[in-house]
C-alpha cells in the first residue's frame, strides 16, 4: 500500500519535473512571463489522448503532443510579440482561458466536461506498460532525456542568447540577433516538453477533463519554479519534489475531500508568498524576474 503510494508520488514527480523545468526555460531563462503553460500541457494531454483513442500508437501520440503544443507555443509568442511583463502575462492568461473554453465547449472533439476516460497506458515497440513500477521506469527515462536536452540547450550559445533576451531585448538586437526568433524558439522548446509532460500525465492517470488544466493550476507551476528558483534547472527539480510531496501528503491526514483541494492551494500560496518576501530568488535561483 505505502509502496504503491510512493511509486505514485515518484511518477508524479517525474512528470512535474519535466513540466516545471520546461516552464523555467520560458519563464526563468527567457523571461517570457507566460501563464499559459498549463494550457500547453493540456493541449499535449488532449492531443495524445485523442490520437490514441482513435487508434494511433502511443509513440505518435506523445511526439505529436509535443509538436502540437510547440505550434501553439509559437502562436502564443507571435500574437503577443509586442507585449511585455504584466501585459504579456494577461494576454497569456487569456490564451489559457480560450484553451479551456475550447476543451469544455467543443464537445464533438473533447466530450466537454465529461472528459476523456480510458486513455491507454503507454506502449512502445509492442510492449505495453502494465504495472506502476514499469510506468515509473518509463517516465523516469523520459524525464532524464527531456531534462538532458533542455539542460544542453540552456548551457549552449543559444541558451546564452535566451538569457540575454530576458535581460534586454534591445541590447540583443543591437548586437545583430533576432530577439523575436530567439523568444519563439525558446517558447517552442518549452511548449514541446510541456506537451510531452501532458501526454505522460494523460496516459498515466488514464482520464482527463478540462478541469485538470484549469487556469488556477498555473499557481502550482509558479510555486515550483519560483520556490526552486528562476533560471535554475536543479531548483525546478527540487521545487517539483517539494510541491508534489507537500501537495499529496495532505491526503494522509483524514481531511474531508472537499477540503483537500482548497487547502493545497492555500499551502502553495503561502509557500509562494514566503519565498517572494524572504528569498525572492528562491532556493537556487540566479535571477530576479521583475
Amino acid at each position: 500500500m505505502l509502496e504503491n503510494y510512493i511509486i505514485h508520488i515518484a511518477i508524479l514527480i517525474c512528470i512535474y519535473t519535466i513540466f516545471s523545468v520546461s516552464y523555467n526555460v520560458a519563464l526563468g531563462y527567457t523571461g517570457l512571463i507566460t501563464l499559459a503553460h498549463v494550457a500547453l500541457y493540456g493541449i499535449g494531454a488532449y492531443t495524445s489522448a485523442l490520437l490514441t483513442r482513435a487508434g494511433y500508437p502511443f509513440i505518435s501520440g506523445i511526439l505529436l503532443a509535443g509538436v502540437v503544443a510547440a505550434i501553439f507555443g509559437f502562436f502564443l509568442v507571435y500574437t503577443t510579440r509586442k507585449l511585455k511583463g504584466d501585459y504579456l502575462a494577461m494576454a497569456t492568461l487569456g490564451f489559457a482561458f480560450v484553451a479551456y473554453s475550447i476543451e469544455i465547449n467543443w464537445t464533438g472533439l473533447t466530450r466537454g466536461a465529461l472528459g476523456l476516460p480510458g486513455i491507454v497506458k503507454p506502449a512502445l515497440f509492442g510492449f505495453r506498460i502494465g504495472s506502476n513500477v514499469e510506468m515509473l521506469l518509463f517516465v523516469f527515462i523520459v524525464a532524464v532525456i527531456s531534462i538532458a536536452i533542455m539542460w544542453r540547450i540552456v548551457r549552449s550559445g543559444f541558451g546564452r542568447l535566451m538569457e540575454a533576451t530576458r535581460d534586454d531585448e534591445t541590447g540583443v538586437e543591437v548586437l545583430g540577433k533576432n530577439a523575436f526568433a530567439i523568444k519563439a524558439k525558446a517558447m517552442m522548446i518549452s511548449a514541446f516538453f510541456a506537451g510531452i509532460a501532458g501526454s505522460l500525465f494523460a496516459h498515466y492517470i488514464s482520464y482527463i477533463d478540462p478541469g485538470t488544466f484549469y487556469l488556477t493550476e498555473i499557481i502550482l507551476l509558479l510555486t515550483i519554479v519560483i520556490v526552486g528558483g528562476a533560471a535554475s534547472m536543479r531548483g525546478s527539480i527540487i521545487g517539483a519534489v517539494l510541491v508534489v510531496v507537500v501537495g499529496d501528503v495532505l491526503r494522509l491526514f483524514d481531511l474531508p475531500s472537499v477540503l483537500i483541494g482548497p487547502s493545497r492551494h492555500i499551502i502553495y500560496a503561502v509557500l509562494l508568498l514566503c519565498v517572494l518576501l524572504y528569498r525572492p530568488r528562491g532556493i537556487l535561483g540566479r535571477v530576479d524576474l521583475i
Partner: protein, 240 residues
C-alpha cells in the same frame, strides 16, 4: 554612410528637423551639440530603435532606412548607448561571446560545444585595458569598468561603422585618456568612427570632421579648427 534629411518628432518635441550628415570611411567623425539637440535620437534613428518620420540612411551605398534593428546591426553598425547597457545577469565572457559570434542557430549550438575561445575574448579586453576575470558578473563592475566593457562589446561585434554615444561621459580623467588612446588606435587601424561628445575640447584633437547639431539640425560641419571659431556654434553652446 549617408544620412539624408532625417525628421523625428516626439509629440510636440521636434527632436530631428532635417538632419543630414556624411560619414567618411576610415575617419573619426564627431557629433557635438548642446543637451537635447537630438544627437542620441539620431543614433536611435540610424539603428532603427525608433522609427523616423522622414529621411533616408545609406550604408555603403545600400539604403537601410526600412530595415529592422537587428538587420541593420548585422549589416555592420556597432553602437553604444549614452547609458551603459549590459545584460544584468550575465558575465563578461557571456557578453563578448554574444558580441563576437554572429551565430544564433539553435541546432548548431546544441550540437557543437565550443564557442569563442577565452583567448580571443581576452584580446578584446586587453585592447580597452579592462583587467577583470572573464567570469565576473557585470553587476560587480564599477561604472568605469562597465563603460570599458560596453566599448569592448561594440568593438568586438563585427562591424564597418562604430558609433559611440558619449564614450567618456562620467569617467575620471585617467580613464578618459585611456579611452581616447583606444579610439586613436582604432582609427589608425582604419576603423570608421562616429562619436557623440558633449565636450568640445575632447573631440578637437581627436576628430577629423566635426558636425554640430542644434535643435535637430546640422548648423555647421568641417575641420575641428574651423568649427571652434564658428560663431553660430559658439552661440549655440553659450545659449545653452
Amino acid at each position: 554612410m549617408l544620412i539624408k534629411n532625417v525628421f523625428k518628432r516626439f509629440g510636440g518635441v521636434k527632436a530631428l528637423q532635417g538632419c543630414s550628415l556624411e560619414i567618411e570611411k576610415g575617419k573619426i567623425t564627431a557629433l557635438i551639440g548642446p543637451n537635447g539637440s537630438g544627437k542620441s535620437t539620431l543614433f536611435n534613428a540610424i539603428s532603427a530603435l525608433i522609427t523616423k518620420d522622414r529621411g533616408k540612411i545609406e550604408l555603403e551605398g545600400e539604403d537601410i532606412s526600412r530595415m529592422v534593428g537587428y538587420k541593420i546591426a548585422k549589416k555592420g553598425i556597432s553602437r553604444t548607448f549614452q547609458e551603459v547597457r549590459l545584460f544584468k545577469h550575465l558575465t563578461i565572457r557571456d557578453h563578448l561571446q554574444i558580441a563576437i559570434s554572429d551565430d544564433e542557430s539553435l541546432i548548431k549550438s546544441f550540437l557543437v560545444f565550443d564557442g569563442i575561445s577565452d583567448k580571443r575574448i581576452q584580446e578584446v579586453l586587453d585592447r580597452v585595458h579592462l583587467d577583470k576575470p572573464l567570469g565576473t558578473f557585470v553587476t560587480d563592475l564599477s561604472y568605469g569598468q562597465r563603460k570599458l566593457l560596453d566599448l569592448a562589446i561594440a568593438i568586438a561585434k563585427p562591424h564597418t561603422l562604430l558609433m559611440l554615444d558619449e564614450p567618456v561621459a562620467g569617467v575620471n580623467p585617467r580613464l578618459r585618456k585611456v579611452i581616447k588612446e583606444v579610439l586613436v588606435r582604432l582609427s589608425k587601424e582604419g576603423e570608421t568612427l562616429l562619436i557623440i561628445e558633449h565636450d568640445m575640447n575632447f573631440v578637437m584633437d581627436l576628430a577629423d570632421v566635426v558636425y554640430v547639431l542644434d535643435e535637430g539640425r546640422v548648423i555647421a560641419h568641417g575641420k575641428p579648427k574651423t568649427i571652434q571659431k564658428n560663431k553660430k556654434v559658439l552661440d549655440a553652446y553659450l545659449g545653452e
